[in-house]
């Protein structure tokens, strides 16, 4: 690891960038111009966010707040738990535990710094973590393994059975750092009763674990508050997603990022509600006027990202789509599958409901909700089984009227690379041109963004889409 990287704590550095970025939003245009001179790279993040107005500003403030919480946790008498993005943090908040979502941290570093997460990615390999594993954990993990961040107290993940590579990263971290570990394990089917029972049992054991680690007990009222907030968020999301189906869609590409990143960070917390409200207001106005969310105002193509997005150096991926008049119809990460969501009717078995009646129903609701978080929901089983990846992709492509599908992941993603070829054959056969990107969503040393963009461009041209 380069000495200059070693000199600063990772989490603090990230917070500092985001905090100053969020303050810049309050400055005058002149001040902003001045600031941009000093942060030529970060400009690529800040610009698209500030251009979005209130939602963008709220989003960056949200990120800054999240990081501040991590930094201050021990001072505030709270524990820190490393966790994965398919884990909904509500439970942790209810027990005064501050979540550190490794994938979010990796993505933020990748977006913000000129050299992305290279040093941290490589550091993980130096201490023996495999280079071929998924970069989404490996990046932030490197910083934590190197002791370059406020310490993690314990690990909770929910990827075993869904993504072993992911689970392996957390198991390795726990062992390497010598801290306690609990994992939620998912069976391969969703919807069956015995799966629900398993989720419930597993979740209860998790609660016991987190209670023990945090020294807190789960209070019913606290839980109810969080679920009530989640209820509100689900309502806003339902509206947003409904408007997303309009042609042209009133949602700018970057909103997709806001939707899921906000949920990973603050699901069940008022901060996320606030962000959704701002997005909702803007979107409704645009929808009422029949306007596209794209900057050009002209929607030429609707692309559904059937896996994840691209997070290296700046927000250029979203910007790039925007510039070309390509509407982003969401990814596997965007959707939540609340039972009454408009699109949820397409896969009724994959949905969850919230029941705030008593402690048990609430725990059950949380367990179900967690079992519906992005990858946990649809790539836990064979892709062609009911409710799994193919079903969901085709349903979403249809509901959101996508013209084509784009797969992007990481070379470390055994899970999807193990099946994406036959998967793409079937989506093609169903009439959706499908592009498989060959890059790494978190590490542009695998394929430069220029090369990635060229392949995308070629796909749109050769397949007659643009």
């Amino acid at each position: 690891m380069r000495p200059e990287v070693r000199a600063y704590p990772f989490d603090w550095m990230l917070w500092a960038a985001l905090e100053h970025g969020s303050r810049a939003a309050d400055g005058t245009p002149g001040e902003l111009r001045h600031l941009y001179r000093y942060i030529p790279y970060f400009r690529g993040v800040l610009d698209p966010l500030l251009r979005e107005g209130e939602p963008g500003i709220l989003f960056i403030k949200l990120l800054s707040r999240y990081l501040r919480n991590i930094l201050d946790a021990h001072r505030d008498g709270k524990k820190r738990a490393a966790t994965t993005f398919c884990f909904l943090p509500g439970l942790l908040y209810a027990l005064d535990v501050v979540p550190i979502t490794l994938e979010i941290m990796s993505a933020l570093g990748g977006l913000t710094w000129k050299r992305g997460m290279y040093d941290y990615l490589d550091y993980g390999c130096e201490v023996g973590f495999t280079e071929t594993s998924c970069s989404s954990q490996r990046g932030a993990l490197g910083a934590y393994l190197a002791g370059l961040a406020e310490p993690i107290d314990f690990v909770v993940c929910d990827s075993p059975g869904v993504c072993d590579t992911n689970a392996n990263a957390f198991a390795f971290a726990a062992e390497y750092l010598g801290i306690p570990f609990y994992h939620l394990n998912y069976p391969q089917v969703i919807g069956e009763d015995r799966s629900q029972t398993y989720h419930r049992e597993d979740y209860k054991a998790l609660i016991a674990f987190v209670e023990e680690q945090s020294g807190r007990t789960l209070e019913e009222e606290r839980l109810r508050e969080i679920l009530a907030e989640a209820e509100k968020q689900d309502g806003l999301l339902a509206d947003l997603e409904d408007m997303h189906t309009l042609v042209p869609t009133p949602l700018p590409p970057i909103y997709n990022l806001f939707i899921y990143a906000g949920r990973f960070l603050f699901s069940g917390m008022p901060a996320y509600t606030e962000l959704l409200e701002a997005m909702h207001a803007r979107t409704r106005a645009r929808a009422a006027a029949g306007k596209s969310g794209l900057r050009s105002g002209r929607e030429k193509l609707r692309a559904f990202m059937c896996y994840i997005d691209h997070y290296t150096l700046n927000l250029r991926f979203w910007d790039w789509l925007d510039e070309r008049g390509i509407a982003h119809m969401g990814s596997i990460l965007s959707r939540t599958f609340r039972d009454y969501h408009g699109y949820a009717g397409a896969l009724p078995e994959a949905t969850y409901t919230l029941d705030l009646a008593d402690r048990d129903t609430m725990i059950d609701s949380l367990a179900q909700m967690n079992a519906r978080s992005p990858m946990v929901r649809s790539i836990r089983g064979p892709y062609d089984q009911p409710n799994m990846w193919l079903d969901e992709t085709l349903a979403m492509a249809r509901v959101f009227r996508a013209d084509c599908l784009i797969y992007n992941g990481t070379p470390g993603c055994r899970n999807t690379w193990g099946m994406v070829k036959p998967f793409a054959r079937e989506t093609e056969a169903s009439g959706y041109p499908t592009h498989i990107m060959n890059d790494d969503a978190f590490d542009d040393r695998v394929e430069s963004w220029e090369a990635t963009a060229e392949r995308l461009e070629e796909f749109f041209a050769v397949r007659g889409l643009l």
């Binding site: 690891m1 380069r2 000495p3 290279y118 490589d122 550091y123 390999c125 130096e126 201490v127 023996g128 280079e131 071929t132 590490d443 542009d444 040393r445 695998v446 394929e447 430069s448 220029e450 090369a451």
Partner: protein, 263 residues
């Protein structure tokens, strides 16, 4: 007096040295051929000629390198790791960490004062940490491999390459060339990409001072300079001999040790 030889048949080059009482008498580096025997024979003959000694005077010859099993005239063989360790200790007695990058392999090792290997790691992950990677890139750039290292010095803005794969990096290099970027910036990017990969390996053996480099890539100043930066350690240079010879020197020294043990 006991005259020993070391013969290192690498994937790219074949090296032969003659030593007497730990002093280097003569050395040759020639290109390895499809016929490793012939290359070894040729290198040995030239070295003998240089030193003005007859074949019969060589008491013991140890072979190493990928082609070690095919050298007809060697009496014994040793692994490259052992030979490079031993050779490095001779080249610089204070050496404790050796980075050996040859054509097909990259190794990082920790050695003791006698040059015995305590721990070593090799690059199994990806070929972009090998000398061949540099050769492929040099040929795309149209520069001589010996000149590639100096491009780093001339560059003010090294490009960033998709450095995790030779195949992909090459595509990037071509793209950058086509985009009209200066050759020195691309070359510097190539060297840096290689250094980054090697640094992972070196850090993983927990390097101790002094750090030295052996093998052909040690002659690439750009890789060396970036490595120094990444490791925050000086990578010490040798004056005694060409670092590419380290393996052959180690082999000759191990031959001497063998003789001593026999007496």
């Amino acid at each position: 007096m006991t005259l020993t030889a070391g013969c290192d048949v690498g994937s790219l080059t074949t090296k032969v040295v003659l030593m007497r009482r730990r002093r280097l008498l003569a050395a040759r580096v020639i290109k390895s051929r499809v016929n490793p025997q012939a290359a070894a024979d040729q290198a040995l003959q030239q070295t003998l000629n240089d030193a003005g000694v007859a074949r019969g005077e060589v008491v013991l010859c140890i072979g190493t390198g990928y082609g070690r099993e095919r050298i007809p005239f060697v009496d014994d063989t040793r692994s490259e790791v052992a030979c490079h360790g031993r050779g490095a200790a001779w080249l610089l007695p204070s050496a404790r960490t050796v980075i050996d990058i040859g054509g097909q392999d990259c190794k990082a090792m920790r050695i003791d004062a006698q040059g015995r290997v305590e721990k070593f790691l090799t690059n199994d992950k990806c070929a972009s940490g090998t000398g061949r990677f540099l050769e492929v890139m040099a040929s795309v750039l149209g520069v001589d491999i010996a000149a590639l290292g100096d491009l780093s010095r001339a560059s003010r803005a090294p490009v960033r390459l998709a450095s995790t794969c030779t195949v992909w990096a090459q595509a990037d290099v071509i793209k950058h060339l086509n985009a009209g970027l200066p050759v020195e910036d691309i070359g510097a990017g190539v060297n840096a990409a290689m250094a980054h990969r090697v640094a992972i390996l070196v850090n993983a053996v927990k390097p101790e001072r002094d750090v030295v480099m052996t093998g052909g890539v040690a002659k690439n100043a750009g890789v060396r300079a970036t490595l120094e930066k990444l490791l925050t350690r000086r990578v010490r240079k040798f004056r005694k001999a060409d670092p590419q010879l380290a393996g052959a020197i180690g082999a000759a020294l191990l031959a001497e040790d063998n003789l001593k043990a026999r007496i």
